[in-house]
């Protein structure tokens, strides 16, 4: 079985995003960018499935600017076997990302596609589900545990009330949640080796996908800023405040 892992280059989670003064977006100039944390979890899970002898090859894919190569090299250094960059400087919406991934899946015929549940930039939480619909295949979203068994996979999902387990016929699409695993760090030798692993470059046009956006962002604004209140001296003062709120 082959595993396809889409990885997205996003603002590093430690960086506090700043809205541009002209309301056109978030300032990404000179900001540290990294692999979306949920996608690191997806790469890790793919590697573990391969290490368990249940997959032969891991292909990482990114849709984004030339610099997304760095993100792909990170995936290769962690343990992916080869990478595909679909190069574009446009902001590609999840629906178009899903269409490109569908075209790649048609060529690669993966048994499993492992994605992040959401990117921490746009927080859309859509791409995996859309890909699953376009492929006509089942989806296991917000995965806490993934168990591949023959021609099916059992996915334990993190849902609002707790956990839910579903059984999906392969090929299937799985999106990762935080508790699925703890991603490894790439070792220095593996980072060196990753530089020699194959990385193909393509464009959206190669797959005949129209990436024209369906949504226009007309404004990006700062949310209302919350002001810090007061600090109270001791528990007695806090008790007074809480009683004044009428909740005790």
């Amino acid at each position: 079985m082959k595993i396809l892992v889409p990885v997205k280059r996003v603002i590093d989670y430690n960086v506090k995003p700043r809205v541009k003064a002209d309301g056109t977006g978030v300032d990404l100039a000179n900001v540290k960018m990294s692999m979306n944390p949920f996608d690191e979890i997806a790469v890790e899970e793919a590697i573990r499935i391969k290490e368990a002898g249940k997959a032969e090859e891991i292909v990482a894919v990114s849709i984004g600017p030339t610099k997304a190569q760095e993100t792909l090299r990170t995936a290769l250094a962690m343990g992916a076997d080869r990478a595909i960059l679909v190069e574009t400087d446009e902001e590609v919406e999840p629906l178009a990302v899903a269409k490109i991934l569908k075209a790649i899946a048609d060529e690669e015929q993966p048994g499993l596609v492992l994605l992040g549940k959401q990117s921490i930039s746009d927080d859309s939480n859509q791409t995996g589900q859309m890909l699953a619909a376009l492929m006509g295949r089942p989806q296991g979203t917000f995965a806490n545990t993934v168990a591949v068994d023959g021609d099916s996979v059992e996915v334990k999902r993190e849902v609002d009330g707790g956990l839910e387990t579903v059984k999906l016929t392969l090929p299937a699409i799985v999106t990762t949640d935080l508790r699925l695993n703890e991603p490894r760090y790439a070792s220095l030798p593996n980072i060196m080796k990753a530089k020699k692993k194959p990385l193909d470059s393509k464009t959206p046009a190669d797959f005949g996908v129209d990436v024209a956006p369906r949504l226009t962002t007309t404004n990006v604004a700062e949310p209302p800023v919350r002001q810090a209140g007061e600090k109270v001296a001791d528990v007695d003062a806090l008790v007074e405040k809480i009683k004044a709120l009428g909740i005790a």
Binding site: A132, P138, V159, E164, T217, L238, I247
Partner: protein
């Protein structure tokens, strides 16, 4: 505009998350509520009572019993010939189903809306709520998920909608439900709709300590219990307690953060709370920058004392 709202339920009653969606849909036009489930007549009856709902569609089939997206999404897509917009709550179930519907219809979903600005224009948070984007759709139909804390809840009574049967392709045959481990919170309010939330962080040390420090205070205040990701990852509490960008978004009347530093991912999930109270031993903890009331203290002394003095 004709809108179709996905009713969230457990085959016996309507989940509260649906009510904010009805309000959002009402801002766009006429509201039809879709109840897809199995032996879900009581849910359809409940949905028909919701103020603002003019029609209920009931799709009663074993294939819809567990809300599997593979089965529900084609049902919705089929019904969308008669509707201009599909709206679902931004819950794990809505987030599972809606994008699949959007792809079937070849439209871009608008996730987690905060407001309706016009027939095709909405605001939504991006970058963990550090920015609010206004987006306009060019698609012929709308697929939307709604942030529950951003809209008033529709009244659960006062409506008198008609109930009609609907059907779809049924079981797609590619997925099945195996089991669920859904915690029974007993009398404790649900995190998503609680008026008061007491949340604990990494500082609580372990599950037992979390329970012995946080639970008595929550009991006294009739509060729901939440947690930071660090507390969940360390196994102090189950995953569905996580508040934040990648957990639950809450906006109670009062949010009490105990031993939580206030990372942006945590703030993203609770900074719209009406009153924020923080207890932390580090006076420079970022949580104090958003707290209305702060107490710099060791929680292991302060919280038991607080619980006791609240009488």
């Amino acid at each position: 505009m004709n809108t179709l709202v996905l009713v969230e339920h457990d085959n016996s009653s309507v989940n509260d998350a649906t009510l904010a969606v009805v309000t959002a849909a009402g801002k766009l036009g006429e509201v039809t509520a879709l109840v897809a489930g199995h032996n879900c007549g009581a849910v359809a009856d409940g949905a028909a009572q919701i103020a603002g709902v003019s029609k209920v569609l009931k799709a009663d089939d074993a294939a819809y019993a567990n809300g599997l997206a593979e089965n529900v999404a084609p049902l919705v897509a089929g019904l969308m010939d008669s509707y201009d917009a599909f709206l679902a709550p931004a819950t794990t179930s809505g987030k599972n189903i809606a994008p699949r519907v959007a792809a079937h219809l070849d439209v871009m979903q608008i996730s987690d809306i905060l407001s309706v600005e016009g027939g095709k224009t909405f605001t939504r948070p991006i970058y963990a709520g550090n920015a609010i984007a206004t987006v306009e759709s060019a698609d012929p139909k709308l697929v939307i998920t709604v942030r529950g804390t951003a809209f008033e809840k529709a009244e659960t009574t006062g409506g008198s909608a008609s109930i009609e049967d609907a059907s779809g392709p049924g079981d797609a045959g590619i997925s099945s439900f195996v089991s669920a481990e859904i915690a029974d919170g007993g009398d404790r309010p649900e995190l998503a709709s609680a008026g008061v939330i007491v949340s604990g962080g990494r500082a609580l040390k372990d599950g037992e300590t979390f329970e012995s420090v946080i639970t008595p205070l929550a009991d006294k205040l009739g509060a729901a219990i939440g947690a930071s990701r660090a507390a969940v990852d360390a196994g102090y509490v189950p995953n569905d307690y996580q508040v934040g960008q990648t957990g639950k978004i809450v906006a109670p009347e009062v949010y009490i953060a105990i031993g939580i530093s206030g990372a942006i991912q945590h703030l993203a999930g609770m900074k719209d709370s009406k009153v924020i109270i923080a207890i932390n031993k580090d006076e420079d903890a970022p949580i104090f920058q958003v707290a209305d009331i702060g107490l710099v203290a060791d929680l292991f002394n302060a919280v038991p004392e607080l619980t006791q003095k609240l009488g």
